[in-house]
């Protein structure tokens, strides 16, 4: 099924403005003290930009389902790997963390 119409210039311009607007938001919010939320908000905005690029510039929205699954699985697996790996670092004992030791076992 060949698509008979191509996306309009207007659609791309709207996405462009959205991306630039989100970029401005990213930079602006960086100068606001949100405590530990700064990182989450920055990543959230970056994800929104990523979605805009993937769905509209990369035409994932009108592509075949297999493409969405392919990239979705890649991202999903990375998130799992990342979360599992971070449980190691976050779970290290803070008492001996300052000594940069990974284990609570005494030397010798």
């Amino acid at each position: 099924m060949m698509k008979s119409t191509t996306p309009s210039l207007a659609r791309y311009m709207v996405v462009l403005c959205g991306l630039l607007g989100l970029l401005g938001l990213t930079i602006g919010l960086a100068y606001v003290d949100l405590g530990s939320f700064n990182l989450s908000v920055a990543l959230l905005i970056a994800s929104a930009k990523a979605l805009l690029v993937m769905l509209f510039f990369m035409e994932l929205l009108e592509g075949v389902q297999a493409s969405r699954i392919a990239i979705g699985m890649g991202v999903f697996m990375l998130l799992i790997f990342g979360a599992l790996a971070m449980t190691d670092y976050v779970g290290r004992d803070s008492r001996i963390y300052g000594d940069a030791k990974a284990s609570a076992m005494p030397d010798r």
Partner: protein
């Protein structure tokens, strides 16, 4: 070159449309592996930022936010011109396609120029690991931040260079009349790769440049 032809579709495909969709799926699968490649580096960055928050925040402040912001905008615009180029290819508008591809390449080169200048500035300020780094407060972990800075942006810049080559290749293909409204798959596929490069930078920018700009 038999690589860039339309008919007949290779024997495993039912028709040329299926061949085109298979090419796009193939690129998406490759991009999934690229997500893993950059993901590994991002994970390393995450682990050490978690461990040394002050050093990473301090390192981030040393980076030029103007250059970073400008580069992000440049790449967003280049994705825009790339998307328009693919549309032009689909419509068989050869001149428009070539111009948009060249514009994309120009913006990509601008990105690399700004990046190169940034690298030089970091080197001059004695912050380049293994080269000019001089330890200073808040600690030696600052070198770790800049190691990740150069690894992440360096790998990204390498992808940019490859992307630039591909975009120029597409432009020359278009000039030689190898791209038409009936066969524009190479441009589409290169477009996907180019957008991915933009995606990586979209995540790199806040993680490297905007760690703690307030206060």
């Amino acid at each position: 070159m038999s690589l860039f032809k339309l008919e007949p579709a290779a024997s495993q495909f039912e028709d040329t449309e299926q061949q085109r969709l298979a090419a796009k799926l193939g690129m998406w699968l490759f991009l999934a592996t690229e997500v893993m490649l950059f993901g590994g580096l991002f994970l390393g960055y995450t682990a050490y930022r978690y461990k040394y928050p002050q050093s990473f925040a301090s390192g981030s402040e040393h980076l030029d936010i103007l250059s970073g912001s400008l580069n992000t905008a440049v790449l967003i615009f280049s994705s825009f011109t790339m998307a328009l180029a693919v549309t032009a290819a689909k419509r068989g508008q050869r001149a428009r396609l070539v111009i948009l591809l060249l514009a994309t390449g120009l913006l990509g080169s601008l990105f690399l120029t700004i990046k190169g200048r940034e690298y030089y500035e970091v080197y001059r300020e004695h912050l380049a690991p293994l080269a000019s780094f001089v330890p200073r407060p808040p600690g030696r972990e600052l070198e770790l931040f800049f190691l990740f800075y150069f690894l992440l942006t360096g790998l990204h810049a390498l992808h940019m260079l490859i992307g630039l080559g591909l975009v120029m290749l597409m432009a020359s293909l278009a000039l030689c009349n190898r791209i038409s409204a009936r066969y524009y798959t190479p441009v589409e596929v290169v477009g996907l790769y180019w957008h991915f490069i933009d995606l990586v930078w979209i995540f790199l920018f806040p993680l490297l440049y905007l760690i703690k700009r307030y206060g």
